[in-house]
């Protein structure tokens, strides 16, 4: 088992004919992901890589396929529309890779999500991968290996850092999710902690946060109250100055709130095992599982 996706998951790619979309769609297919169709306006009727049919709209794709998930690579200008298109089409899992979506557009998306059954990952994220089964995103597949740790992160390469350690340590991963670095994201740590807690194969969860917002704190409340599995935490940005956006639009200490130290202290208080530096994430996980 794993959460959300596995080798049977049928995936479409919105923006499949664009530069990013086509590159990563190919990589996902190589990894084994069942990419059944693509969607690009005015490209309906063509084929991607000579085998994947492209449609103008999700509605058209839905007439031909049962769709479980979508990967969105469309430009920021149209991204909110594409996400809402997927929500209205009632696609269960929406993974938006696109970076640079205005926050106000994301508020619209959140409104749409509120009363919909879809789960959305991203935007501005590496995506989701279930090791050796299905990859919907831009992460390097080869560092992942089927195992027993679930990984959640607001970051990209820092996640790869953690995954690489977990794989090398022999623990391996179940599902890894990058929830995205924007201030307003489709879902938060909380959504997935719950799923990992219920997943039989997952024995521990690594949660990689960063400065800005309060979701690490909220997630750790859940860890304290509802979780039996160990959760290993790391927060990037102890040395980040206040008021500056550290690359990610959401990584900002504002009004003195959202510092790494504040987060770490609350997480620790709530029973999250803190990895002192990013090089010891796997080590800390091994220790937690050997307890």
């Amino acid at each position: 088992m794993s959460i959300l996706i596995d080798q049977k998951t049928s995936v479409i790619v919105q923006g499949i004919t664009g530069k990013e979309g086509s590159f990563h769609a190919s990589k996902c297919i190589e990894y084994g992901t069942k990419v059944i169709a693509g969607v690009t306006p005015f490209k309906g009727g063509t084929f991607f890589n000579e085998t994947v049919p492209v449609f103008n709209t999700i509605e058209d794709a839905k007439k031909n396929f049962k769709i479980d998930a979508t990967a969105i690579f469309v430009p920021a200008v149209f991204a909110a529309s594409s996400i809402i298109e997927a929500i209205e089409a009632e696609i269960s899992l929406i993974v938006c890779i696109t970076e640079g979506i205005p926050s106000v557009d994301m508020l619209n998306v959140k409104s749409a999500l509120k009363s919909a059954p879809s789960i959305m990952i991203g935007p501005n994220c590496p995506g989701i991968i279930t090791a050796d089964e299905c990859k919907i995103g831009i992460m390097p597949g080869f560092i992942h290996k089927k195992g027993k740790v679930g990984v959640l992160s607001r970051s990209g390469t820092l996640t790869y850092e953690a995954v690489n350690q977990l794989t090398k340590s022999g623990l391996g991963e179940t599902t890894c999710i990058g929830i995205g670095g924007d201030p307003v994201t489709g879902s938060s740590f909380l959504t997935f902690l719950e799923m990992f807690e219920r997943d039989d194969e997952t024995k521990a969860v690594v949660m990689i946060g960063e400065i800005g917002g309060t979701q690490e704190e909220e997630a750790s409340e859940f860890v304290k109250n509802k979780m039996k599995k160990p959760v290993i935490g790391f927060v990037a940005g102890k040395t980040a100055p206040a008021g500056k956006r550290m690359g990610h639009a959401g990584a900002i200490i504002s009004g003195g709130k959202g510092t790494a130290l504040e987060k770490l202290s609350i997480m620790e208080k709530n029973g999250v095992l803190i990895a002192e530096n990013p090089s010891v994430i796997a080590e800390t996980t091994v220790k937690a599982l050997n307890k």
């Binding site: 990589k27 920021a76 200008v77 640079g100 205005p102 926050s103 106000v104 557009d105 994301m106 508020l107 619209n108 959140k110 409104s111 831009i138 992460m139 390097p140 080869f142 560092i143 992160s153 607001r154 970051s155 990209g156 390469t157 820092l158 996640t159 790869y160 850092e161 690489n164 670095g181 201030p183 307003v184 990689i208 960063e210 400065i211 800005g212 917002g213 309060t214 979701q215 909220e218 990037a236 940005g237 102890k238 040395t239 980040a240 100055p241 008021g243 500056k244 550290m246 690359g247 990610h248 639009a249 990584a251 504002s254 009004g255 003195g256 790494a260 530096n277 990013p278 090089s279 010891v280």
Partner: protein, 397 residues
Amino acid sequence: MDIHEYQAKELLAKHNIKTLPAILCHNQSAAYNAFITLASGVVAVKAQIHAGGRGKAGGVKITRSADETKNIAENMIGSKLITTQTGKEGKVVRKVLVEKGANIKKEFYLSLTIDRKTSKIAFLISPEGGMDIEDVSKNAPEKLLTVLIDPQYGVKSFHILRMFLFFNLERHLYNEFSELIPLLYFAFIQEDMSMLEINPLILTAEGNFIPLDAKVALDDNASFRHPYYADFTDEDEEEPLEVKAKNVGLNYIKLDGNVGCMVNGAGLAMATMDTIKEYGAAPANFLDVGGTADSKRVETAFNILLSDKSVRAIFINIFGGIVKCDMVAAGVVTAAKNIGLTLPVVIRLEGTNAQDASELLKSSGFNFTIAESLADGAQKVAKIVHSINKQYNIKKA
């Protein structure tokens, strides 16, 4: 992206929010004329910099004569203003806003931001206008009220009423107040603001609510639908190296240390900075070279790091995922040659083709220090910087 007070007020005026008549002045004679033109007994001369806390720092002066307006402007323009928000170096004042005086009866605090937890728009208000809101939050949290607005349906009468009652105002003022709040909300959404802070919002003796100060941050991501964002950018207000980096698509933020960092990915870059610090050195910067760390980008990144004279060693930390490490290594070598790099460099490359990359670096002719892990690299670079610092100190001594 931060903008000036006068620009913030332009945006508010565009949405039919009353502001005080004011004239932007780049020199003292313009300020003199502004006093005459405004034909008000009293004006405020306000330094236009991208930072709050101007009042206490001497950046806002009240005067009742044209000559004094001129003198104040003369003193302000070109001077450095150091406020609680500018950092030690302060900011050079390049223009002032000369604004008509108002008959202030009461002052309030009001701000709008996006509440990340609920995905709503948050009005934060306080009857303690003109104070540092973080102080109010610490010392008198009961004087703060947050009213969350769901963007699904926007501001409703009951939201406005809650704010009005919290301000404890006389009922006859409700009409005027109830017109202001939706306008502020609308301006916030329509202009894609990420923050709108009005401190103070004043109630005049005439019964009008007017933003006396206004601080606005705009959402850079929304620039595609607001061509004016480009015109509102004031590079004078930004760190020159940050501007240079931004122009080539790099994410760079200058810090106080002396280990130059070059990392791919924002989270990993922060984690790298943190680890350097853990090993006793201090990062000179945040620098995310992004997903495609080719030789051109690496070269530009090197140039930016080297422009910072406090940098004594460089730590390159790349996790090769989609990007292949040997390509990055080749880029580093080429760039190092092109710019004649002499500073010590610690490199950690992990991921695709890391082994080949390591060979390539070793045979490059440069004395790169290869690190096995992030922690290893941080430790090594910290050691190098310490020994350099010692030498400096010996030299100095």
